[in-house]
Amino acid sequence: MSFAELLAAALLLLSALVVVRASNAVHAALALIANFLVIAGVYVGLEARFVAMTQIIVYAGAIVVLFLFVIMLLSAAQANVGKDMLPGLQVPAVVGALGLAGVLTYAVTRFTAPPNPGTLGGGLPQALGPLLYSPEKWLYALLVVGFLLLVATIAAVVLVEPERIVPEKVIKSASEELKEMVER
């Protein structure tokens, strides 16, 4: 592992810890953006330039910004609001995380590289394009992801829709119900 890679790895882990431990939600979000930027760099190193670009533009640029926007909207800056109802959960959290890390590293380090890897061609869009859009390859998956985005938008709209004024008919019957309740 070259020096640059070591540095990037350290940066990644550091920023991740900040995301997880920061007391202020905004700092956590910003640390996450930093994390994503470093990862983009690593992607470039791993010959996945297009993915690195999307990572920066979509992931860091759009998603985390949305987070920041929502944090501001709900003025929920201070991270740990309310009393901690489950103080005892810290121990399983740490033990669980360490266990997970241990198991995953054990598994990952058992990886045996295949004999004849193909060439990536730097993960450029020219190579990814045909893969993405040829019916034999991933077109179907793309369609499904498209559908997913449609669903996501409708779902988000429905979630945050204010109470719509309801046409006349419904309210009347509701009031009747009230009168009836009162008489009984």
């Binding site: 598994a107 295949p114 179907y140 992801v145 997913l148 449609l150 669903v151 719509r164 019957s173 509701a174």
Partner: protein, 563 residues
């Protein structure tokens, strides 16, 4: 392919239609389109088809499980009468998502499909816009996202170990096992096997009853479709123990937890956990898919009946008191609920029994005796709480007083009593159409109970002849054959000498002497074979080996021949 087009077109059309026509029309268009897809599926049964380079596969698993999923969605559509047109729309989206999931062996597509039908569910869970609805939605969302992350990491490791994204890829070594188990964990979350079931009771209780119905039936079907494909791996040893532990816990927790419940929706949630455990039993033997399919169909119909009746009683909580003496107040609801409960308990004349029988047979075929006995004992416990509910129905004592003072019957007729209901809230499923679904479903449960053959044929992939032949030979056990005499290292004189050994009844084996093939031998009915050597062996060291035709190694015995 047509089902894909139908569902896709329906979703798109409905998305646009919603703005122009009143909610009632969108609801019926949605019912129409899902019904059409269901009909189409039914008529083009057995036609296998793969498209999009293997990413979209239409086989018996896809058709069967999609059918069950669409059934659940259709039922929810009919029961869910609401003012806001988005409700049927989201349900159709979920239906399409489930079809995606059921008909693709590709892991990333499974993940996306998982998201496609989960997102609408998160929203539907909060539909009643009340305290508990939002809580259910949030819990389901965050845990769902967490499980998606686990699923994704599983896919990454799976790719690392095998280099392919297809579900049934062969692999070995700790990386592959970890990948498989991560995926198993994520899917276990979806079908609520125990260590991953945490969300089920709270979400079923919090969300409106109609949505819970859809969750209990359709989501489970989609989840198991994926599980069937993922666990189609030949070497069962990899995930056998893990799944066994999951199922054992599920069956115990699901049933015992249900004993302590006081509210019927939460009880049905626990019962759905337990049934997920029973279905899981079918995953062990390779040929389990049709049995699992049939079980899910029977389960979907029975638990659907129970939920539909609860939906007619109230969209919110349904404490036991509300059901007391239902048979006398609302005979149709009472009978439907009765049939549903008895079928869930697995009593014979109903479909539930055949489902259980078939799944247990699969477990027996896979020699999972421990799990089988545990499942049987816990289903006895299950019988108790179903019977307790059943006894409530036929209890003649005083009528239950609904909290609002209005006896339950009145509550059924009027529009929902003002309890923080948004104008678009779900009204009670007491319309003519919902009672019609009850009757149809009850009839189906009884019909499948009497003629299980038809139901099973819906799910069995291989044309019948092959399957029955497969079932005929006693047990497709992992190959165990050996030479029993002479024992290893024995010294024998040349004349009194023949080879004996064991194997699967009716199987042919090849006997080799020092690598040269001596003769073929067929295993007798009692699983034993014997061969007297054609030519007297030359004195000296001989290693006799018996192999399966077409394999290179097998158990062998070293024998020293004297003069």
């Amino acid at each position: 392919m047509i089902t894909l087009y139908l569902l896709g077109a329906a979703s798109v059309v409905l998305t646009l239609l919603g703005f122009f026509v009143p909610a009632r029309v969108t609801r019926w268009v949605a019912v129409g389109s899902v019904g059409a897809t269901l009909a189409y599926l039914f008529f083009t049964w057995g036609q296998e088809q793969t498209a999009f380079g293997g990413l979209y596969v239409v086989d018996s698993v896809s058709q069967g499980f999609t059918m069950v999923a669409l059934l659940g969605v259709l039922w929810a559509l009919i029961l869910g009468r609401t003012e806001k047109w988005e409700f049927p729309l989201l349900l159709v989206y979920a239906a399409t998502g489930m079809h995606f999931m059921a008909s693709s062996p590709n892991l990333p597509v499974l993940l996306v499909a998982l998201e496609v039908f989960s997102l609408p569910l998160y929203v539907l869970a909060t539909w009643r816009r009340d305290e508990r609805g939002f809580e259910a939605g949030l819990k389901y969302f965050l845990l769902g996202a967490l499980s998606a992350a686990i699923f994704l990491y599983g896919i990454a490791l799976h790719f690392g170990a095998t280099g392919s994204f297809n579900a049934g890829a062969e692999g070995s070594g700790p990386l592959y096992v970890t990948a498989l188990l991560l995926i198993l964990g994520a899917l276990a979350f979806k079908v609520s096997l125990v260590p991953f079931h945490w969300w089920t009771p709270d979400v079923y209780q919090g969300s409106p009853t109609t949505v819970s119905l859809m969750m209990a039936t359709a989501v489970k079907a989609a989840g198991f479709a994926a599980l069937v494909r993922v666990l189609d791996v030949q070497d069962q040893g990899l995930w056998g123990l893990g799944l066994g532990a999951l199922i054992a816990l599920t069956v115990v927790f699901g049933n015992l937890g249900a004993l302590a419940q006081r509210e019927s929706k939460r009880l049905l949630a626990y019962s759905s956990i337990a049934h997920a455990g029973y279905v899981g039993l079918g995953l062990f033997s390779g040929t389990g898919a049709p049995a699992i399919g049939f079980y899910l169909l029977a389960y979907a119909l029975s638990t659907g009946l129970a939920f539909a009746v609860l939906a007619a009683v109230s969209q919110g909580d349904v404490p036991y008191e509300r059901l007391r003496g239902l048979l006398y107040r609302k005979p149709v609801l009472g009978v439907a609920m009765g049939i549903g409960l008895l079928s869930l308990a697995g009593l014979p004349p109903f479909a539930g029994f055949w489902g259980k029988l078939l799944v247990f047979l699969e477990a027996a075929r896979a020699q999972q005796w421990g799990l089988l006995v545990l499942a049987l004992l816990t289903s006895a416990v299950a019988a108790y709480y179903y019977l307790r509910l059943f006894n409530l129905l036929i209890d003649r004592r005083q009528e239950a007083r609904e909290e609002g003072g209005a006896p339950v019957a009145a509550g059924l007729a009027g529009t929902p009593v003002l309890s923080g209901q948004g104008a678009g809230g779900l009204s009670l499923a007491t319309g003519r159409s919902s009672t019609a679904t009850l009757v149809v479903a009850a009839a189906l449960v009884v019909l499948l109970g009497i003629l299980p053959g038809w139901g099973y044929r819906l799910f069995s992939p291989v044309p019948f002849a092959a399957l029955s032949q497969a079932a005929a030979q006693p047990a497709a056990l992992p190959a165990t054959f050996a030479i029993t005499s002479p024992s290893d290292g024995a010294e024998l004189r040349a004349d009194e000498f023949s080879l004996q050994g064991t194997g699967n009844a009716g199987e042919t084996l090849e006997v080799y002497d020092n690598g040269t093939k001596l003769a073929d031998v067929t295993v007798g009915e009692n699983g034993g074979w014997s061969l007297t050597l054609p030519s007297l062996p030359a004195p000296g060291e001989h290693t006799y080996q018996v192999r399966r035709p077409g394999e290179s190694e097998g158990p062998s015995v070293r024998v020293k021949i004297l003069e």
